[in-house]
Protein backbone atom coordinates (compact mmCIF):
# COMPACT_ATOMS: atom_id res chain seq x y z
CA UNK A 1 0.00 0.00 0.00
CA UNK A 2 1.71 3.15 -1.16
CA UNK A 3 1.04 6.58 0.23
CA UNK A 4 -0.70 8.44 -2.52
CA UNK A 5 -3.22 11.22 -2.73
CA UNK A 6 -6.03 8.74 -3.22
CA UNK A 7 -5.06 6.94 -0.04
CA UNK A 8 -4.98 10.15 1.99
CA UNK A 9 -8.31 11.27 0.56
CA UNK A 10 -9.87 7.92 1.39
CA UNK A 11 -8.50 7.88 4.92
CA UNK A 12 -9.65 11.41 5.76
CA UNK A 13 -13.11 10.89 4.23
CA UNK A 14 -13.53 7.58 6.03
CA UNK A 15 -12.41 9.18 9.30
CA UNK A 16 -14.96 11.98 8.97
CA UNK A 17 -17.68 9.49 8.07
CA UNK A 18 -16.99 7.26 11.07
CA UNK A 19 -16.67 10.23 13.43
CA UNK A 20 -20.06 11.48 12.24
CA UNK A 21 -21.56 8.08 12.93
CA UNK A 22 -20.01 7.85 16.40
CA UNK A 23 -21.24 11.36 17.21
CA UNK A 24 -24.70 10.24 16.12
CA UNK A 25 -24.57 7.57 18.79
CA UNK A 26 -23.13 9.73 21.55
CA UNK A 27 -24.67 13.19 21.32
CA UNK A 28 -27.70 13.91 23.49
CA UNK A 29 -29.64 16.53 21.56
CA UNK A 30 -31.58 15.28 18.56
CA UNK A 31 -30.74 18.26 16.36
CA UNK A 32 -27.03 17.75 16.99
CA UNK A 33 -27.36 14.11 15.96
CA UNK A 34 -28.86 15.07 12.62
CA UNK A 35 -26.18 17.69 12.00
CA UNK A 36 -23.47 15.13 12.84
CA UNK A 37 -24.97 12.81 10.27
CA UNK A 38 -24.65 15.49 7.56
CA UNK A 39 -20.86 15.12 7.88
CA UNK A 40 -21.22 11.40 7.25
CA UNK A 41 -23.41 11.93 4.20
CA UNK A 42 -21.07 14.51 2.65
CA UNK A 43 -18.00 12.35 3.15
CA UNK A 44 -19.82 9.39 1.63
CA UNK A 45 -20.31 11.65 -1.41
CA UNK A 46 -16.54 12.14 -1.44
CA UNK A 47 -16.07 8.37 -1.30
CA UNK A 48 -18.32 8.10 -4.37
CA UNK A 49 -16.04 10.53 -6.21
CA UNK A 50 -13.06 8.32 -5.34
CA UNK A 51 -14.99 5.37 -6.75
CA UNK A 52 -15.53 7.30 -10.02
CA UNK A 53 -19.25 7.80 -9.49
CA UNK A 54 -19.47 11.57 -9.83
CA UNK A 55 -23.15 11.65 -10.73
CA UNK A 56 -24.00 9.55 -7.70
CA UNK A 57 -21.94 11.88 -5.50
CA UNK A 58 -23.98 14.88 -6.64
CA UNK A 59 -27.20 12.92 -6.11
CA UNK A 60 -26.01 11.95 -2.62
CA UNK A 61 -25.37 15.58 -1.69
CA UNK A 62 -28.74 16.66 -3.10
CA UNK A 63 -30.93 13.89 -1.69
CA UNK A 64 -29.28 12.94 1.58
CA UNK A 65 -27.48 16.07 2.74
CA UNK A 66 -30.24 18.27 1.39
CA UNK A 67 -33.68 16.76 1.25
CA UNK A 68 -33.59 13.97 3.82
CA UNK A 69 -31.80 16.07 6.44
CA UNK A 70 -34.27 18.92 6.04
CA UNK A 71 -37.18 16.49 6.29
CA UNK A 72 -35.71 14.98 9.45
CA UNK A 73 -35.30 18.46 10.92
CA UNK A 74 -38.96 19.19 10.14
CA UNK A 75 -39.93 15.92 11.80
CA UNK A 76 -37.95 16.90 14.89
CA UNK A 77 -39.34 20.41 15.05
CA UNK A 78 -42.95 19.26 14.62
CA UNK A 79 -42.65 16.91 17.59
CA UNK A 80 -41.66 17.63 21.15
CA UNK A 81 -38.58 16.10 22.67
CA UNK A 82 -37.89 15.90 26.34
CA UNK A 83 -34.32 16.89 26.90
CA UNK A 84 -33.12 13.71 28.49
CA UNK A 85 -35.07 10.58 29.20
CA UNK A 86 -34.20 8.63 32.29
CA UNK A 87 -32.53 5.31 31.66
CA UNK A 88 -34.95 2.48 32.38
CA UNK A 89 -33.84 -0.38 34.57
CA UNK A 90 -31.95 -3.07 32.77
CA UNK A 91 -31.11 -0.62 30.00
CA UNK A 92 -27.37 -1.06 30.43
CA UNK A 93 -27.56 -4.85 30.26
CA UNK A 94 -29.68 -4.68 27.12
CA UNK A 95 -27.32 -2.20 25.51
CA UNK A 96 -24.32 -4.34 26.37
CA UNK A 97 -25.95 -7.44 24.87
CA UNK A 98 -26.85 -5.51 21.72
CA UNK A 99 -23.33 -4.10 21.48
CA UNK A 100 -21.90 -7.61 21.73
CA UNK A 101 -24.30 -8.84 19.08
CA UNK A 102 -23.48 -6.02 16.66
CA UNK A 103 -19.74 -6.46 17.27
CA UNK A 104 -20.10 -10.18 16.63
CA UNK A 105 -21.90 -9.46 13.37
CA UNK A 106 -19.19 -6.99 12.39
CA UNK A 107 -16.41 -9.45 13.21
CA UNK A 108 -18.11 -12.21 11.24
CA UNK A 109 -18.48 -10.04 8.15
CA UNK A 110 -14.96 -8.61 8.54
CA UNK A 111 -13.57 -12.13 8.63
CA UNK A 112 -15.16 -12.63 5.23
CA UNK A 113 -13.92 -9.43 3.58
CA UNK A 114 -10.55 -8.55 5.08
CA UNK A 115 -8.41 -10.22 2.45
CA UNK A 116 -10.84 -9.87 -0.42
CA UNK A 117 -9.05 -8.84 -3.57
CA UNK A 118 -10.18 -9.09 -7.13
CA UNK A 119 -8.01 -8.86 -10.18
CA UNK A 120 -8.08 -5.18 -11.08
CA UNK A 121 -9.80 -4.88 -14.42
CA UNK A 122 -9.32 -1.61 -16.29
CA UNK A 123 -12.65 0.10 -16.65
CA UNK A 124 -14.00 3.27 -18.19
CA UNK A 125 -16.42 4.30 -15.50
CA UNK A 126 -14.75 7.66 -14.98
CA UNK A 127 -15.19 8.96 -18.52
CA UNK A 128 -18.61 10.42 -19.29
CA UNK A 129 -20.05 8.94 -16.12
CA UNK A 130 -23.41 10.69 -16.38
CA UNK A 131 -23.79 9.72 -20.03
CA UNK A 132 -23.09 6.08 -19.22
CA UNK A 133 -25.69 6.12 -16.45
CA UNK A 134 -28.23 7.74 -18.75
CA UNK A 135 -27.66 5.27 -21.56
CA UNK A 136 -27.87 2.32 -19.20
CA UNK A 137 -30.95 3.69 -17.44
CA UNK A 138 -32.88 4.26 -20.65
CA UNK A 139 -31.82 1.14 -22.49
CA UNK A 140 -31.65 -1.67 -19.93
CA UNK A 141 -33.54 -0.33 -16.94
CA UNK A 142 -36.37 1.63 -18.48
CA UNK A 143 -39.14 -0.38 -16.78
CA UNK A 144 -37.70 -0.10 -13.25
CA UNK A 145 -37.10 3.58 -13.94
CA UNK A 146 -40.75 4.15 -14.75
CA UNK A 147 -41.83 2.02 -11.79
CA UNK A 148 -39.72 4.25 -9.54
CA UNK A 149 -41.85 7.21 -10.55
CA UNK A 150 -44.97 5.24 -9.56
CA UNK A 151 -43.38 4.40 -6.19
CA UNK A 152 -42.46 8.02 -5.53
CA UNK A 153 -45.94 9.21 -6.48
CA UNK A 154 -47.66 6.63 -4.26
CA UNK A 155 -45.31 7.32 -1.34
CA UNK A 156 -45.71 11.08 -1.49
CA UNK A 157 -49.50 10.96 -1.86
CA UNK A 158 -49.64 8.48 1.01
CA UNK A 159 -47.40 10.69 3.15
CA UNK A 160 -49.61 13.71 2.56
CA UNK A 161 -52.76 11.73 3.38
CA UNK A 162 -51.19 10.36 6.57
CA UNK A 163 -49.78 13.63 7.84
CA UNK A 164 -52.73 15.84 6.90
CA UNK A 165 -54.77 17.25 9.70
CA UNK A 166 -58.32 15.96 9.85
CA UNK A 167 -60.21 19.21 10.25
CA UNK A 168 -63.59 17.98 11.44
CA UNK A 169 -62.21 15.30 13.76
CA UNK A 170 -59.60 17.68 15.13
CA UNK A 171 -62.39 20.09 15.99
CA UNK A 172 -64.14 17.37 17.95
CA UNK A 173 -61.10 16.45 20.01
CA UNK A 174 -60.00 19.91 21.05
Amino acid sequence: MTLTGEFFAFMSLALVAVIGGVLLLNLTKVIHMVVALVFTFVSIAGIYVLLSAEFLAVIQVMIYSGAITIMMLFGIMLTRHHGDDAEPKGGMLRKLALLLGVLGFGAAVYFGIYDLDFQAVPNTLHENNTEQIGVSLFSHYIIPFELTSVILLAALVGAIVLARKDDEKEGDQE
Binding site: F10, A17, L37, G75, D117, L137, I151
Partner: protein, 104 residues
Amino acid sequence: MSSVPVSAYLALALILFCIGLYGALTKKNTVIVLISIELMLNAVNINLVTFSKYGVNPSITGQVFALFSIAVAAAEVAVGLAILISLYRNRRTVNIDEMNQLKN
Protein backbone atom coordinates in the same frame (compact mmCIF):
# COMPACT_ATOMS: atom_id res chain seq x y z
CA MET B 1 -3.61 0.17 -10.25
CA SER B 2 -5.31 1.53 -7.15
CA SER B 3 -3.65 2.38 -3.87
CA VAL B 4 -6.77 1.75 -1.78
CA PRO B 5 -7.68 -1.94 -1.61
CA VAL B 6 -11.25 -3.00 -2.16
CA SER B 7 -11.45 -4.39 1.36
CA ALA B 8 -10.89 -0.90 2.80
CA TYR B 9 -14.06 0.37 1.13
CA LEU B 10 -15.96 -2.69 2.29
CA ALA B 11 -14.66 -2.25 5.84
CA LEU B 12 -15.80 1.38 5.87
CA ALA B 13 -19.25 0.29 4.72
CA LEU B 14 -19.25 -2.42 7.41
CA ILE B 15 -18.37 0.08 10.16
CA LEU B 16 -21.12 2.48 9.06
CA PHE B 17 -23.61 -0.39 8.86
CA CYS B 18 -22.74 -1.54 12.38
CA ILE B 19 -23.11 2.00 13.73
CA GLY B 20 -26.50 2.29 12.05
CA LEU B 21 -27.59 -1.13 13.32
CA TYR B 22 -26.60 -0.33 16.90
CA GLY B 23 -28.32 3.04 16.74
CA ALA B 24 -31.51 1.57 15.28
CA LEU B 25 -31.64 -1.07 18.02
CA THR B 26 -30.80 1.07 21.06
CA LYS B 27 -32.08 4.59 20.49
CA LYS B 28 -35.35 5.60 22.11
CA ASN B 29 -36.26 8.42 19.74
CA THR B 30 -38.12 7.38 16.61
CA VAL B 31 -36.52 10.08 14.46
CA ILE B 32 -33.06 8.82 15.39
CA VAL B 33 -34.09 5.26 14.57
CA LEU B 34 -35.18 6.41 11.10
CA ILE B 35 -31.86 8.24 10.64
CA SER B 36 -29.92 5.13 11.66
CA ILE B 37 -31.79 3.15 9.03
CA GLU B 38 -30.74 5.76 6.47
CA LEU B 39 -27.14 5.26 7.58
CA MET B 40 -27.45 1.53 6.98
CA LEU B 41 -28.88 2.16 3.50
CA ASN B 42 -25.94 4.43 2.76
CA ALA B 43 -23.49 1.72 3.77
CA VAL B 44 -25.17 -0.67 1.35
CA ASN B 45 -24.88 1.94 -1.41
CA ILE B 46 -21.14 2.22 -0.77
CA ASN B 47 -20.89 -1.53 -1.27
CA LEU B 48 -22.82 -1.35 -4.55
CA VAL B 49 -20.61 1.41 -5.94
CA THR B 50 -17.43 -0.31 -4.76
CA PHE B 51 -18.30 -3.52 -6.57
CA SER B 52 -19.32 -1.54 -9.63
CA LYS B 53 -15.74 -0.28 -9.87
CA TYR B 54 -13.52 -2.98 -8.33
CA GLY B 55 -15.69 -6.06 -8.72
CA VAL B 56 -15.00 -9.08 -10.86
CA ASN B 57 -16.96 -7.59 -13.72
CA PRO B 58 -16.88 -3.78 -13.50
CA SER B 59 -19.81 -2.03 -15.11
CA ILE B 60 -22.15 0.88 -14.59
CA THR B 61 -24.92 -1.38 -13.28
CA GLY B 62 -23.90 -0.97 -9.64
CA GLN B 63 -24.26 2.79 -9.84
CA VAL B 64 -27.70 2.46 -11.45
CA PHE B 65 -28.74 0.13 -8.63
CA ALA B 66 -27.49 2.64 -6.07
CA LEU B 67 -29.60 5.32 -7.76
CA PHE B 68 -32.73 3.16 -7.48
CA SER B 69 -31.92 2.43 -3.86
CA ILE B 70 -31.57 6.15 -3.10
CA ALA B 71 -34.96 6.82 -4.71
CA VAL B 72 -36.63 4.11 -2.65
CA ALA B 73 -34.91 5.39 0.51
CA ALA B 74 -36.29 8.87 -0.11
CA ALA B 75 -39.81 7.45 -0.46
CA GLU B 76 -39.30 5.45 2.73
CA VAL B 77 -38.25 8.54 4.70
CA ALA B 78 -41.32 10.44 3.49
CA VAL B 79 -43.72 7.70 4.56
CA GLY B 80 -41.86 7.08 7.84
CA LEU B 81 -41.99 10.71 8.86
CA ALA B 82 -45.68 10.93 7.94
CA ILE B 83 -46.40 7.91 10.16
CA LEU B 84 -44.31 9.48 12.92
CA ILE B 85 -46.23 12.76 12.78
CA SER B 86 -49.56 10.95 12.69
CA LEU B 87 -48.55 8.86 15.72
CA TYR B 88 -47.34 11.95 17.54
CA ARG B 89 -50.66 13.65 16.96
CA ASN B 90 -52.48 10.73 18.58
CA ARG B 91 -50.12 9.81 21.40
CA ARG B 92 -48.06 12.99 22.06
CA THR B 93 -44.82 11.04 22.20
CA VAL B 94 -41.93 10.04 19.99
CA ASN B 95 -40.56 7.45 22.40
CA ILE B 96 -40.40 4.15 20.60
CA ASP B 97 -41.23 2.15 23.75
CA GLU B 98 -44.60 3.83 24.11
CA MET B 99 -45.71 3.00 20.56
CA ASN B 100 -47.38 -0.28 21.46
CA GLN B 101 -50.92 0.16 20.21
CA LEU B 102 -50.86 -3.18 18.41
CA LYS B 103 -50.26 -5.07 21.67
CA ASN B 104 -53.70 -4.65 23.20
